[in-house]
Amino acid sequence: MKKGNIITGILFSIFSIFVILMSLQLPPSKNGVPGPSTWPIAISLIMLLAAMTVLINAIKSTDEESLILNTIDHYRVYISMGILILYLLGMYYIGFCVASFFMLYAFFTWFGEYKLIKRILIATIIVAIVFFLFTKILHVPFRFGILF
């Protein structure tokens, strides 16, 4: 976990410094009454302190446990994330029902060993239930995309 903690410490340090720099562009405090920048700067300083603590502890640590993020199981997660980003774009540009059907069908095909007809049927039923529940009962409009 040493490597993971070092990365965490560095990333959060960078983020906190970025927020401090952004906050300095906001109006300052007046007559001891805090302005909009005071709170973010104070919180970012606490974050920076915590990030430095994580970083220093990680450097000093003799922890042998390593951060593993490159097994086949992890790659499966990264590909899933990629598919979901594509689904988000598909939902927006193509349409909710079509994109959701293909997303579900793709995952069922990849994760399971179901027959073609079963995959199509389950994906269709789930999309139909979700679409009906949200549009007809909860009145959530899914108005986007060139299809439906």
Partner: protein, 493 residues
Amino acid sequence: MIQEALLIVMQPLVLLNILLGVAGGICIGCLPGLTATMGVALVLPLTFGMSAANSILLLIGVYVGAIYGGSISAILLNTPGTPASAATALDGYKMASRGEAGRALGISTSSSFIGGIVSCVYLLLVSPQLAKFALKFSSPEFFMLAVFGLCIITSISGKSMAKGILVGTLGILIATVGIDSITGTMRFTFKNMNLLSGVNYIPVMIGLFAMSQAFISVEEIKQKSVVNQKIDHVFPKREDWGVIIKSGLGFGSLGTLVGCIPGAGADIAAFISYGQAKNLSKTPEKFGTGIPEAIAAPEAANNGVTGGALIPMLTLGVPGDAVAAIMIGALTVQGLQPGPLLFQNNGPIVYAIFIGMFIANIFMFILGINSLRLFAKVLSIPKQILIPIIFLLCFVGSYALNNNIFDVIIMLAFGILGYFLNKVNISSSPAVLGLILGPMAESHFRRSLLMSNGDVSTFLSTGICWFFFVLIIISLVIPALRTIMSNKARKTV
């Protein structure tokens, strides 16, 4: 007030919602990898169109059911359905392996029920008094309370306090995005229209708790769970009732107390109770071999947390755990602001929540005793089907809040962030609690200084402020001392 509350709860639709919530919660809880928080986050979008009482009681049903449901897979598969049931698995599975799965499940159901009822009694007795007391709070007191909440959350919720502070402060900073409520200045909006009103914390919660958990489940998608245990004689025998009642009352109270502490969830309560039951036992060496005391104690405690977590949430607006944080979101969507004024302005709804909580526990007991075989079948639902459905529900749920695709982007981003935070052993809970407590802390901080013309001594101007100040110091010093002591102990070994 009570009569009005009874009229709200006793409507057939409300009762049906509680029943469905409990049944759904048990199904979610018993599936390994699906936590109570995830269940409540997934059901939340379905409540947007409901009345306030209906909405919150459905979520409470899911919460109560899911915390109990985790014990089913813990006992039958030795895989806790939720982290809250990890302690139950230690002895529950051992008892089930001896061919007494029904007995173990019966003890777990009954002690969960008693623990839950005990927590409801405390909720009913303590909350109105605490709310009355909290009416005396003004801005400095609320600021100190919010800081105390943030301090204790970061120090309790993970192994490393520094990591807890990292995500807690991340949550607070995310909450600063948008138009500043006092000066009207735009902060960190990057000229994006969607960020003007800030980052909505419901998509953030769905991302951190449901989507990230689904990603973690994708790692184990190929694993199959098969129930081989025979479930019979679920209703506890006469000799087990003594242990169940004793543990239910004692550890249910302990669970409620732990639940009141912001950040200390059902998993912590269950392990503390398991340890205490072992310390108090005349036969501690039998713990781990499958004895009734070791199942009853953690189960009573984790269900005791359900009522305890609602006490600070309803009375002070400070969530006791991540589920309570989501419930704050649900109440806010309904136009209700948790805190002392909730009791004054919406008394019937608050009492309806109390009564609904009792009913949820009764439904949990009835369903648990009568339908365990049915719920055990849920364990055979393939993850290969379930996980893609959860993905879809996360997308639809976060979109349904404002009918805005930007919320879906936020949800997905936080889902990915939550997954990687989990990989470096960082709990996501402080981020969400920071998101909720951050604005409360900032607004009261600035208001206090405005009222006192910049005099910082206003934060220690009353006895209540001093009380919280002492608590803040204790909550920061104790974990630090504990770390130093354990480091010293490790060096001497």
